[in-house]
């Protein structure tokens, strides 16, 4: 058996498979299927300073090779997370990542400050949610915005700080470089691509929010390209995500430059997918006599142009 352990910004993961924020809640529902300690980590549902009701329904639409969602950051607030969810999560034997989204820089700072006093292993700064008017993406689409929010949060954040990037930008390499120079310890990417579907009978968008975030297998090539682009631009580690649904996709994402992976939408197709991906990755490593999963990171051999 290969060595599956990876280290991201000083945090030791027992394997590179992490449940993606927004698809896994706070873990309880999936603990019915397998011990959560099977996973390398859990990126929890995005939380905000105070509870958010979320968007009106419909929030979901299926698409070719994926789906749109516009849940709108429905969550019980950071204090509720710390009091009710975190103690249980910390008993599951896996890395716990808190994903935070704010209306203002002050929101982010206050949450980072609160979470720094808890047992959370890592903080993921969500500056890429496309489904709320305020709640992140306004900070995530320009270098100046990214730099200012990270610099502000950095002052309060005593935990390893990972920044989740939006693909809805012109040059993601530039954004990643800005995140690194402002003090981010790691990057997670990509969040969803903004999309829309229209009901041809009612002429209304299927999703009540009009637009939603596209996720699922359709996203994979875009995510692989962007991870590869960012890997060439920054030194900090990348947790890659976007459409990973089988172990081959996971290997691809590692080769593109990811050090670990987040698995999201495929959970809705098959709740056991993370376990199957992990098994497949392990067999691939053994078959190819690769001693460590970490050896794959960035090992794509690009064609010369």
């Amino acid at each position: 058996m290969a060595d599956l352990r990876v280290n991201i910004a000083g945090v030791a993961f027992q394997n590179p498979i992490v449940a993606a924020s927004g698809t896994f809640g706070f873990g309880r529902e999936y603990s019915e299927f397998y011990p959560l300690g099977t996973l390398g980590g859990i990126s929890c549902k995005g939380i905000t300073l105070t509870a958010r009701p979320g968007n009106p329904p419909p929030r979901i639409a299926e698409t070719p090779g994926g789906m749109l969602n516009a849940v709108g950051l429905q969550n019980p607030g950071v204090d509720h997370f710390i009091e009710y969810d975190l103690p249980w999560l910390k008993q599951q034997g896996t890395v716990i990542i808190a994903n935070i989204a704010g209306n203002t820089p002050e929101d982010y700072c206050r949450m980072a400050e609160k979470l720094s006093e808890t047992e959370v292993d890592m903080i993921e700064l969500n500056i890429s949610c496309p489904n709320v008017k305020q709640g992140g993406v306004q900070f995530g689409t320009s270098c100046a915005g990214v730099e200012s929010i990270i610099a502000a949060v950095r002052k309060y954040c005593k935990k390893p700080l990972m920044v989740k990037l939006s693909p809805n930008v012109v040059d993601i390499g530039e954004i990643a470089a800005a995140a690194e120079s402002a003090g981010a310890d790691a990057i997670s990417m990509i969040n969803t691509l903004t999309g829309m579907r229209i009901d041809i009978h009612t002429r209304r968008p299927v999703i009540r929010n009009n637009t939603g975030g596209l996720s699922g297998p359709a996203l994979l090539p875009v995510a692989v390209r962007m991870v590869s682009q960012v890997y060439q631009r920054v030194k900090i580690p990348i947790i890659g995500m976007g459409g990973i649904s089988k172990w081959q996709d996971a290997v691809e994402m590692l080769l593109a430059g990811a050090s670990a992976l987040q698995i999201g939408t495929v959970l809705f197709t098959d709740p056991y997918a993370p376990v199957k991906i992990l098994d497949g990755l392990n067999e691939y490593l053994d078959r190819n006599h690769i001693a460590k999963a970490a050896e794959l990171t960035g090992k794509m051999i690009p064609w010369e142009s």
Partner: protein, 254 residues
Amino acid sequence: MKYDVMLCKITEKKQLTADVFDLTVEAGKLAEAASAGQFAQLYVPGKTLRRPISICEINRTAGTLRFVFQIRGEGTAWLADTCPGDTLDILAPLGNGYSLGNTRQKAVFVGGGIGVPPLLEAAKAFGENAAVLTGFRNEESIILKEDFEKSGNRVLVATDDGSFGYHGLVTDLLKGLDFTAVFACGPVPMLKVVCKIAAARGVPCQISLEERMACGIGACLGCACRLKKDGTEFYGHVCKDGPVFDSETVMWEG
């Protein structure tokens, strides 16, 4: 085990109307854990999202589940194309079903169209104490009438075009009956009328809702529905808080 994924063999398949199909599958521990009004998520090859289908009947002795569903799109068309002997990948049982209470009380079940199947398992428990009111477009689209009758239920049918039974809305049939509990599933306009009548008579009413859904277990928060509890309104979720709700907790959108 609350729910799990299982590969289930289809043992029986029938076509009930032009677009309504009836599948029975060997579901072992899933059937054992299931209760009336719960649902399942059926995997369709090549689709990101599973198809949420209500459980129509549970046979715990035989370890089978029965699903009666309508073709709505490509996913359900694929399911309708399966044959006995084929295997379905099923996540079940999901959500909260009907709380039956005392099955000797006079209960009335109200179903509209493809909202009828989720009522069968619950109505069976009430036998002769249940009146089952079902509404369909026309005679050709009537389903499950004999199934309810076999368990002793009194079945009344309404059709939109008068081709069978009462000519008019199924909710009209409710007005002349005496009952102490209501169980309903069907289109929202029908459910709204049922809830109004039940509320006016002070009779508890449980309704089953549907919404576009992703995970099916309460993790993704996709299938939101507006609820009210202790005076506060919030978005609950059809898959975990429902699909069956006390009518008083449901706030209708729009």
